[in-house]
């Protein structure tokens, strides 16, 4: 070892010396060449932007901050933190590749969800079904018009489910190469629900419809709440076993919560466990934000399709509520239809807010929670269908 060699070795191990990739003669397109050469630094900027969205704009910061930071770490030259021996690569392999982390988070979601408003007014479940049109509509577009393969289209469609863990679970199984872009799109648009939904909701409803008041929900007994997750799981077993890991995790969490006899476990699922897994899930999802996978036209398409999926879902929920009103004596306020996209509880709050604008006495929050939580189940079911048919 002499000093010159050491300095050279050190210089060659700096980021400065490795930021720019050498020209790849096989790439003829100039812009692609540019992306190939400057991919890492561009991704660092993109991740800083995502961090800014998470921290300053508070876009789902619990996920977006770890995802963005994971993206920063995985785009560091030389270090190869997202590689098979890097720590994010190891966590990804252990926790995401086989689907563990999203399922554990879904357990926590189950343990935090109160299905009471849905049980009190069962028919609002259908609104949570209608909103799944966003998933299949976006799938159709992705497949026909954007040149994605069938599994990729399924993974893109699931953005319209507005459900983080479901999106990550499905994407990991169908199109892991799109995980970074889809996760970023899913969480960003979930954060944008208060921006995306209101114009669509107002455009599709009349002032009179927005003013419809709904009668207060009945009390739901403890027994019903305990039996409900088992009923949902039972249906899922009979009709769609492919959705059972997701729905099973959700209902397990919910049963632990409602049974009231395992409060220790339910409490842990809602706090320590979900937090720990969120940290690692976020970081390792971020590890898929590599330049060659993210800086593509596909990512642009995914962003476009994602917002279309959210819009379709919102519109379908609202319109289906209006259709239901045609056939039912007891009118429902179509504004709660948009809550069917899930994005619990933000979408329900949006319904409430838009409702209050039209009629200051009209508190829709609890009514909107019905389609809201039904949307979670609906997305789970849709995920099962995609997993069954898309590969």
């Amino acid at each position: 070892m002499n000093i010159t060699d050491s300095l050279i070795k050190l210089w060659q191990s700096t980021g400065l010396a490795n930021f720019v990739q050498p020209v790849d003669p096989s790439i003829t397109n100039g812009f692609e060449q540019f992306l190939h050469q400057f991919g890492s630094p561009i991704m660092l900027v993109v991740c800083c932007f995502l961090l800014w969205l998470g921290i300053k704009k508070q876009f789902e910061p619990l996920l977006l901050v770890p995802i963005a930071f994971g993206g920063l770490l995985s785009n560091i030259p030389v270090a190869d933190i997202a590689g098979p021996h890097g720590f994010l690569g190891i966590i990804y392999e252990a926790g995401i590749h086989q689907g563990l982390f999203p399922l554990i988070i879904f357990m926590g979601v189950g343990a935090m969800t109160d299905f009471g408003p849905l049980i009190a007014n069962p028919k609002t479940a259908l609104l949570g079904g209608a909103a799944q049109f966003g998933i299949f509509g976006a799938l159709l577009l992705a497949l026909c018009c954007f040149g994605f393969t069938l599994p990729q289209s399924g993974a893109i469609g699931i953005i319209g489910g507005a459900d983080g863990p479901t999106s990550i679970y499905v994407t990991t199984k169908l199109a892991p190469e799109l995980l970074g872009a889809i996760a970023v799109a899913a969480y960003s648009y979930m954060a944008l629900v208060p921006v995306i939904q209101p114009p669509i909701m107002k455009a599709l409803t009349t002032e009179a419809e927005r003013k419809i008041e709904m009668k207060q929900l009945r009390e739901v007994s403890k027994r019903e709440k305990i039996i409900f997750p088992l009923v949902v799981l039972g249906l899922c077993i009979i009709l769609l076993p492919d959705a059972c890991p997701l729905i099973g995790a959700l209902t397990f969490g919910n049963l632990c919560k409602e049974s009231g006899v395992v409060e220790r476990l339910s409490d842990t699922m809602q706090n320590a466990l979900i937090n720990i897994v969120t940290i690692f899930l976020g970081l390792s999802v971020g590890s898929k934000l590599s330049a060659e996978q993210f800086l593509t036209t596909q990512t642009l398409f995914i962003l476009v399709l994602g917002i279309l999926a959210f819009s379709f879902a919102t519109a379908a929920g609202v319109l289906f509520a209006k259709i239901m009103n045609l056939f039912s004596k007891e009118k429902i306020n179509p504004l709660i239809g948009s809550a069917g996209v899930s994005a619990v509880p933000m979408a329900a709050r949006v319904s409430n807010k838009v409702g209050l604008e039209a009629n200051p006495q009209n508190y829709l929050l609890m009514h909107a929670m019905g389609p809201n939580v039904a949307g979670v189940i609906g997305s789970g079911v849709a995920a099962g269908i995609l997993l069954a048919l898309c590969h």
């Binding site: 479940a125 299949f136 799938l139 019903e224 039904a374 849709a382 269908i385 995609l386």
Partner: protein, 81 residues
């Protein structure tokens, strides 16, 4: 190209149809099941009434009573002074 598009359109439409169909079927059955459940549980609740829950959660109540007690004590003490 156009053939490809039609093929994909067909495939996507089938998925759209089946997907929405299954989702609705699932949720419709769920609605029926929930209504059935309500009836059964109502009947069960009459047969075996639920125990009155004595929910004594940690602290929350205690803190309130503590603060209250202190406040009362202070107020009373002042009032006397």
């Amino acid at each position: 190209m156009m053939e490809q598009f039609i093929l994909h359109l067909e495939e996507g439409s089938i998925l759209l149809g089946i997907g929405m169909g299954v989702v609705f079927a699932f949720l419709c059955i769920m609605v029926v099941a929930m209504k059935g459940m309500s009836v059964v549980v109502k009947w069960l609740n009459q047969l075996f009434p639920e125990e009155v829950e004595v929910v004594e959660k940690k602290g929350t109540k205690k803190n309130v009573s503590e603060d209250e007690a202190i406040a009362v004590a202070i107020a009373v003490a002042r009032a006397q002074g």
